[in-house]
Amino acid sequence: MTAPSVPETVTLAGGAAAPLGAADAGSLRVIRARHPWRWAAAGVVLVLLAMALNALVTNPAWDWPTVGRYLFAPSVLRAVVLTVQLTALGIVLGFLLGTVLALMRMSRNPLLASVAWGYVWLFRSVPLILQLLFWYNLAILYRRISFGIPFGPGFFDVGTMDLIGPVTAAALGLALHQAAYAAEIVRAGFLSVGHGQLEAAAALGIPRARQILRIQLPQAMRTIVPTAGNEIIGLVKGTSVVYIMALPELFYQVQVIYNRNGRVIALLLVAAIWYLALTTVMSVAQYYVERRFSRGSARALPPTPLQRARRLLAVRRQARARALADAGTAS
């Protein structure tokens, strides 16, 4: 070794007399910090989880055999379908109307803006359950509904009962209520798009409708989707309110069944399991929709769980191959 001209030993911060020679740099090994408390906390949580699971499985009061019997019963499946239908109608119609309301609210026409504000005010202020009952009883208020010139002659009219059956009334009630919330969500999304974007679109002479659909909406979706996802999941469960209209959706149907056979807990569990399943599907869908609209927002999109799993497997396989190759050269 040649004599170094600079003092070569450095004392570590701890004051430990560990001389750091330049020659050692390559041979220093990194030992990761240990976290014993993480392991302890994980252990505690695992025990608690096991206890909870045990309580669920072993207590006969949960009545799992009955749950199994009714989970896929035709009447329950029909009820699930109706719940999905009501949710879909409520969300699609609600967000369509909500988008129109949001655009009205943001328009330069003060009358349109005030009407939109008034709508949101009214439908957000009256409890959903009351609104549903009003729709359900619409036929008492208006026996017949006539189509024609406003305040002028009607071309034809129909009985309210024929036009708006219970399912339509429920879907309408959910959609109109949802529209008030959707309007605010969509508006928040549009407000989140930077002013410079509108200015650039205007400066390029892009037509107004195209500005909204191509420039504003896709960027607004980044803000809209997470909140809308919340609303959709809320509505899946919110449809259970419709039971007061005696519509055989999931919650009403399980009530009918347990009133007949007295297995209250088991049937509530059936409903809970179905709600869980439906919202799980929605949550996964939301993840992918969000990903779709986040294009361009980050330099690279984070991998999906599936991609992550595949990558992990690939890395493992490579490591194994390398280990095998090393073993080959060593022998």
Binding site: A203, L204, Q219, R295, G296
Partner: protein
């Protein structure tokens, strides 16, 4: 070509432009200098009617921008008409304002397709050609956030060029850039000037003004203090305020 006459603009009690007259001939490069708050950006934005003016008018190739004249009145045009007029005026923003959710290619092709309704094949060809011109052919499928500031501004220039504009307006195109990225944007602008593009440039790059401008305009407190060829305005300013400003920035 571009004819700005007696343009006034106020925000409430604040008079930003107080009667600005400016003429830019076809193929000429005009650089507008002035301290911040002098009304440079407002003037530029008035040219394509992003800012409504209170008095005076702007005309490009004899066509009034934003208004229709009948007798001694100016009627404001409908939005659709204004958008049509803007689709022949390029505008390059200080903060680029690229559409972040569209690729570079889509950013450039959007306005020719939707505002000018030109056929897709023609626009695709044009887009490739323009990206080549600003040296970003290999970035066609990147998203704006994956690019550096200088690259983004070059895309923004290609986007403005895609309109085949009669004039391009540059609003401090290099002010948001890191110093080492300014050069690449100025290089593209120099190339445009050489190829005879009509340009109005608001900038603080005195070197660029000296080298490229046909006319340098010095604006202060909403009025044009002096204008002329760069050799005159930059090297032998007649007005005290011009001298004071140049003394600070040079």
């Amino acid at each position: 070509m571009v004819d700005v006459r007696g343009v006034h603009k106020s925000y409430g009690p604040l008079e930003v432009l107080r009667g600005v007259d400016l003429r830019v001939g076809a193929g000429e490069v005009t650089v507008v200098l002035g301290p911040s708050g002098s009304g440079k950006s407002t003037l530029l934005r008035a040219v394509n009617h992003l800012e409504k003016i209170d008095r005076g008018f702007v005309a490009i190739d004899g066509e009034l921008i934003g208004y229709r004249r009948s007798g001694d009145r100016l009627h404001e045009l409908k939005e659709r008409e204004i958008l049509r007029q803007r689709s022949r005026i390029g505008f390059v923003f200080q903060s680029f304002n690229l559409f972040p959710h569209l690729t570079v290619r889509q950013n450039v092709a959007e306005a020719p397709l939707s505002a000018q309704r030109r056929p897709r094949e023609e626009v695709e060809e044009l887009t490739a050609e323009l990206l080549d011109r600003v040296g970003l052919r290999d970035k066609a499928d990147a998203y704006p956030r994956q690019l550096s500031g200088g690259q983004q501004q070059r895309v923004a220039i290609a986007r403005a060029l895609a309109l085949r504009p009669k004039v391009i307006l540059f609003d401090e195109p290099t002010s948001a850039l890191d110093p080492e990225l300014v050069g690449e944007v100025l290089e593209v602008m120099r190339d445009l000037a050489r190829s005879g593009t009509t340009m109005i440039v608001v900038t603080h790059e005195i070197g660029f003004a000296r080298e490229v401008a046909d006319t340098v305009v010095f604006l202060d407190e909403g009025l044009i203090v002096e204008q002329g060829p760069p050799a005159q305005v930059l090297d032998a300013p007649r007005h005290e305020r011009t001298r004071a400003f140049l003394g600070k920035v040079l």
